[in-house]
Amino acid sequence: MNESQHLSSQFDEDLSGLRTHVLQMGGMVETQISAAIEAYSSGEVSSVKHIVETDRKVNDLEKAIDDDCAHLIARRQPAASDLRLVFGITKIVTDLERAGDEAKKIAKGVRRIYEAGQMPSQYGIGVRHIAEAALGMLRHALDSFARLDPQLAEEVIRADADVDTEFKSIMRQLITHMMEDPRTITTSIDIIWIARAVERIGDHAKNIAEHVVFIVEGRDIRHQDKESKA
């Protein structure tokens, strides 16, 4: 990435301001997700309200960043690495906002489960495990953006396959469980929703990592595995 300064110092400030805002937004979404995981394990549903409120701030920040990007494009006509950065940021904030939405879904699912009774203990560990993995992916994706580190981004992309595999195994367990004991269906469906949301967070982290690779290297690596298999 190009570390030299622009002739216009205002341009440098605009770009670094944008990056800072993305990292702030990323931090908020991380907090949302870890609070949702915490609520899942502890049954402390009071934090759910807080997660929903944070989501509003995340949405506002997404709009503000998009706005800043539009202004920067109109005023500066960025090219090359600057263009890739601005373009990448508009995509990263979309994925971040959606990851935040998934955290909200987890929180609401947790509230339903605990309000109806107790969390069946046998699922605590599996879901918690992939949730930690997905959150780790998001952290690393944001680190790779902060440091513009494509190697770290590639690691995030590879990690997504593990989260997907684990998600499928949790699904199989839950389906078996529902067939054995139909009284657990309502709770099981909520847990499936939660696991599904976690898996989507992993997907968003992977997308963010792909945007980072594009920003740094100018390569669009999305959908690569599908194409090479075809």
Partner: protein, 259 residues
């Protein structure tokens, strides 16, 4: 979008050096010019863009002490434009030029365009009328001047004068058109008209354009070359140069950074 094979060559600079007396202004330039494509030349002031452009129509021959080394091959006939055996007047028929400031002759609109044809020995009124109309249409200015062909060209607006100069360059049916910052003296509307015209013209002629406006280079060209201190630093498809240039010097220039 990916273009897989490069189009045919219209011209190619091969180990081109150029000297103003002792001063070396072009340093071993190798570069293809693709047929019926627009190639933009960009680079900081004084890097040699105009010097390079002027080599294509042997403008430097007009001053003593100027010296070329290497070749500019012109296709399909594979002529070396710089060869002493090649007549510069003949070269200028095949390679037209449009300058930064519109420079119509102090004559009528009609005579500005007919001039190049008369030099070529064309005197038949009907043929001249026909070719002048055709060239003015090619310059996208016919509708504005068809009722005032005998007016002085200097009465036209700057943007119209520039399109008249393009029509004048087109009159001799050149194969390559050279533009040296053709819109730097024009307002955005007149600039857009010239850019539109460039787009239209590349259906029949190859274009090499010098511009200081990065967005213009990005808008009008298929290929872009970045020059620095008399050297060709990077040549590539415009999309690639403006999204992911290979050389840090290119990157610094187009993103407005200090090197």
């Amino acid at each position: 979008m990916q273009i897989h094979d490069n189009p045919a060559l219209k011209a190619e600079a091969r180990n081109l050096n150029f000297y103003y007396g002792e001063a070396k202004a072009l340093k071993n330039i190798n570069m293809p010019i693709y047929d019926k494509k627009v190639t933009a030349l960009i680079g900081p002031s004084g890097c040699g863009k105009s010097t390079y452009l002027r080599s294509f129509n042997r403008m430097h021959d007009l001053y003593p002490g100027n010296r070329y080394e290497g070749e500019i091959r012109f296709f399909p006939d594979n002529t070396n434009l710089l060869s002493p055996e090649v007549d510069p007047i003949e070269v200028r028929m095949r390679v037209g030029m449009v300058f930064q400031k519109p420079n119509p002759f102090p004559k009528s609109i009609y005579e500005n365009v007919a001039y190049g044809l008369r030099v070529r020995g064309e005197n038949n009124k009907r043929v001249l009328d026909d070719k002048v109309e055709h060239a003015l249409k090619g310059g996208a200015i016919w509708d504005e001047v068809k009722d005032r062909l005998q007016d002085l060209a200097s009465n036209l607006s700057g943007g119209q004068q520039q399109r008249l100069c393009i029509a004048r360059a087109l009159a001799t049916d050149p194969e390559l058109l050279l533009f040296d910052e053709p819109t730097s003296a024009l307002d955005p509307i007149a600039t857009a008209a010239i850019e539109e015209l460039v787009h239209e013209l590349k259906k029949r002629v190859t274009i090499l354009i010098v511009t200081h406006n990065m967005q213009q280079a990005a808008r009008v060209s298929d290929y872009t070359a970045y020059m620095f201190l008399g050297e060709m630093i990077e040549f590539g498809k415009t999309d690639e140069i403006f999204i992911k240039p290979q050389d840090k010097r290119t990157e610094d220039y187009i993103t407005g950074r200090m090197g």
